[in-house]
């Protein structure tokens, strides 16, 4: 039995300049250098990327879905943050 397993990493790939990095999956690697190399071999085989970020999964702090009510629902009725909330005369075509 192995003494220690390779940790899990989350992989983010920028598909082309101008776009953000997007999470595309995860993989195992012993360290960050290897995670980058593995990500290159696993997630950009079909020319999918120009830049890669790797983050060890344990370093990600995630919100808890149980708190979704207090975290996200209060934003639902703040319609004044959206342009459609405001009345404009028809004559104003672009604003």
């Amino acid at each position: 039995m192995s003494t220690k397993n390779w940790p899990l990493w989350e992989i983010f790939v920028r598909s082309k300049n101008g776009l953000e990095h997007r999470h595309c999956g995860s993989l195992h690697a012993a360290d960050s250098d290897m995670a980058l190399e593995n990500a290159r071999d696993v997630y950009t085989r079909r020319n999918e990327g120009v830049s890669i970020w790797v983050v060890e999964s344990k370093h990600i702090t995630a919100s808890n879905p149980e708190n979704n009510g207090e975290l996200f629902e209060p934003a639902q009725d703040k319609v004044y943050r959206h342009p459609t909330f405001y009345d404009l005369p028809d004559e104003v075509k672009h604003m």
């Binding site: 390779w6 195992h28 290897m34 190399e37 593995n38 071999d41 696993v42 085989r45």
Partner: protein, 251 residues
């Protein structure tokens, strides 16, 4: 053949990639982790891609109707001109990595020079391959370091592989008649000039990986003359099986 030297020169380069690609391909599905498996297959795919470019060019030069596959699979044992290093078996992962590393350092230096070839097809192929091989070298070097530095067991295994494979390194810098002719024409790379730098950087890299550079000055040669180790015959038996068993068919 009009351009026999050029033809033989190309085969000398391409056979290394062919045989090494075949060796790497054997591992597909049997690597130490899935991630490593995928990486090794990528190297194999790069090498076979290179082989196809070279052999398609060689087939054009030969101009006798032979295809890339005829050249790859229908020669006799003595007509394969790959270096002995490339045909050594995957005894364990340290041998796979050691073979790759010792070849990659040479291959990268070679392709860097080949980009300057006066033969535009060759320089274009080299231009594409040099990027692939830079990555191979990075990959194999990183693994040499991991295994050299990792555990006592891995250090010992990596050292053993380097020691065993060392005897095949000198041949990388030997020249055949075709090589010399091509160097004279500005087409080929003078490999003898790569030797000093090769041993210097390999031994620095080995030191970085906590490995000893072997001191042995006894070297094996013969691959470039088609006199191979016993391993090649079996490799060719696999490589050629279909073409030999079912001659003159399309697949």
């Amino acid at each position: 053949m009009k351009n026999e030297n050029l033809y033989n020169y190309i085969l000398g380069i391409a056979d290394n990639s062919l045989i090494l690609g075949q060796r790497m391909g054997e591992l597909c599905g049997h690597g130490p982790t899935l991630e490593t498996d995928i990486a090794c297959t990528n190297i194999s795919l790069d090498l076979f891609g290179q082989v196809r470019s070279y052999f398609q060019y060689a087939a054009k030069i030969a101009g006798d109707g032979r295809t890339e596959d005829d050249i790859a699979m229908l020669r006799k044992e003595r007509d394969y001109k790959n270096v002995l290093l490339s045909e050594q078996p995957n005894t364990n992962f340290a041998y796979t990595i050691g073979r790759q590393f010792l070849f990659d350092v040479y291959h990268l230096a070679f392709l860097t020079e080949l980009q300057k070839s006066s033969d535009l097809t060759l320089s274009a192929i080299a231009n594409k391959c040099v990027k692939e091989v830079s990555y191979h070298e990075r990959f194999s070097l990183d693994w040499v370091k991991r295994l050299g530095d990792g555990t006592e067991e891995s250090n010992q295994k990596m050292q053993e592989a380097i020691n065993d494979l060392w005897t095949y390194t000198d041949e990388l810098f030997h020249q055949t008649g075709a090589d010399k002719a091509m160097v004279a024409e500005g087409v080929g790379v003078d490999v003898t000039k790569l030797k000093e730098n090769y041993y210097k950087s390999v031994s620095e890299l080995l030191e970085e990986a906590r490995l000893k550079t072997p001191e042995s000055k006894w070297f094996q040669k013969g691959g470039k003359q088609g006199i191979h180790t016993e391993h090649l015959g079996y490799l060719l038996a696999d490589l050629q099986y279909m073409q030999r068993t079912y001659p003159n068919m399309e697949w």
